[in-house]
C-alpha cells in the first residue's frame, strides 16, 4: 500500500512534513507539489509511478474537487483498478492512512470509508465546542 499526497503548490509537501513531525517519517508516503511556475512534472511523475506500480494498492489524496490536480489524478482511475483517489485531504485523513499503512499491507473499502467519515468530522468550530463541553466527571474517578 502506497500513499501519494498531491496538491496545487506546497500543501501536500507541507502535509508530509507535518505527518513526519507527529507520526514519523514514512517512505511509503510520497508528496508532490504541482504547477509551481506552471511545472507539470509532478503530475507526470505520479502518472508514471502509478503505471509502473499498478499491482500495488495506491491511495492518492488530492486537495480540491474540480481542481486540475484532482482532474488529472481522476483520469488514472480509467486504467487502474487498485487505485483510490480521495479529494479534500486533511491532516486527520492523511495521518490515519499513514498509521494504517504502517501496520497493514492494504486497506479494505469499508476501512477506507470509516477513515474518510472520521476525517470529515474533524472540521470543528472550537468556540461552539467550548460552549458545550464540560469536564467529563466520570473520567476524574480513578
Amino acid at each position: 500500500m502506497k500513499i501519494i499526497l498531491i496538491s496545487h503548490s506546497n500543501m501536500a509537501v507541507g502535509m508530509k512534513q507535518t505527518l513526519s513531525m507527529i507520526v514519523g517519517d514514512n517512505k511509503e508516503v510520497m508528496a508532490f507539489a504541482a504547477y509551481i511556475n506552471n511545472d507539470t512534472s509532478s503530475i507526470e511523475k505520479v502518472k508514471k509511478f502509478v503505471s509502473e506500480n499498478s499491482k500495488e494498492q495506491i491511495i492518492i489524496l488530492t486537495d480540491l474537487l474540480g481542481g486540475s490536480v484532482n482532474n488529472e489524478m481522476m483520469q488514472l482511475l480509467k486504467n487502474h483498478s487498485n487505485l483510490y483517489v480521495i479529494t479534500g485531504m486533511n491532516l486527520p485523513l492523511a495521518m490515519q492512512l499513514q498509521i494504517w499503512q504502517q501496520s497493514n499491507e492494504s486497506i479494505s473499502d469499508d476501512q477506507l470509508e470509516n477513515i474518510i467519515n472520521d476525517s470529515q468530522k474533524a472540521l470543528i468550530d472550537v468556540n461552539k465546542l467550548v460552549l458545550k463541553e464540560r469536564m467529563n466527571t466520570d473520567d476524574q474517578i480513578l
Partner: protein, 156 residues
C-alpha cells in the same frame, strides 16, 4: 500499570495523542501538572484533545501523590505526563518504582543548557534530573516512537 512516563511542557498534543498513545496501547492518561490542575479552562481544553476511548485525569502533584495506591492498582495501561522536572521528581520520590522517563519537551530559558532540539534545561532542571537518575530511573530523550532514543543519564 504504568506503561509510559513523559515530561512534556505541551502535555497533551499531536505526538502524544497520535503516536505514543497508539504505540504503547494506552488506555488512561494521567496529566500531573499544578498549573493545569488549578485552571478549569485548561482542564477543559485538555479533555477536548484527549484521544477517543482513552480516560483522562488531570491532577496536581499533591493529588497525584495522595492517589499513588490507586494509581498502582489501575488495571489499564497508563501514561503519566508531567509538565516539568520538579513535579516529576516529587512524584517519583513518592512513587518509588518508576523505571523510565521519556524526556519529550522542556523549553529553552535564559541560561539553560541545550540537550537536544526539544530539551533544554537550566541548573535546577538538571539537578532534578540528576536526582531522578539517582533514584535509579532511566532517562531518555525521544520525540516519537519512530525517532531515535537517546540516553540522558550519562549526559547530565
Amino acid at each position: 500499570m504504568i506503561k509510559f512516563c513523559r515530561i512534556d511542557h505541551r502535555l497533551l498534543h499531536g505526538q502524544v495523542i497520535f503516536s505514543w498513545t497508539k504505540s504503547e496501547g494506552i488506555e488512561r492518561i494521567i496529566v500531573i501538572d499544578d498549573t493545569s490542575a488549578n485552571d478549569e479552562f485548561k482542564k477543559m481544553s485538555l479533555s477536548l484533545s484527549k484521544p477517543t476511548g482513552v480516560k483522562l485525569n488531570i491532577f496536581s502533584v499533591d493529588t497525584a501523590i495522595e492517589n499513588i495506591d490507586k494509581i498502582k492498582k489501575l488495571p489499564e495501561k497508563v501514561m503519566l505526563i508531567f509538565g516539568n522536572t520538579s513535579s516529576t521528581l516529587a512524584f517519583a520520590k513518592a512513587y518509588k518504582d518508576l523505571k523510565e522517563i521519556n524526556y519529550g519537551g522542556i523549553p529553552a530559558k535564559e541560561y539553560s543548557e541545550r540537550f537536544s532540539n526539544t530539551i533544554s534545561m537550566d541548573q535546577q532542571e538538571i539537578q532534578d534530573s540528576k536526582d531522578l537518575s539517582a533514584l535509579g530511573i532511566k532517562l531518555y530523550m525521544q520525540q516519537i516512537p519512530t525517532t531515535n532514543r537517546e540516553e540522558l543519564n550519562n549526559k547530565l
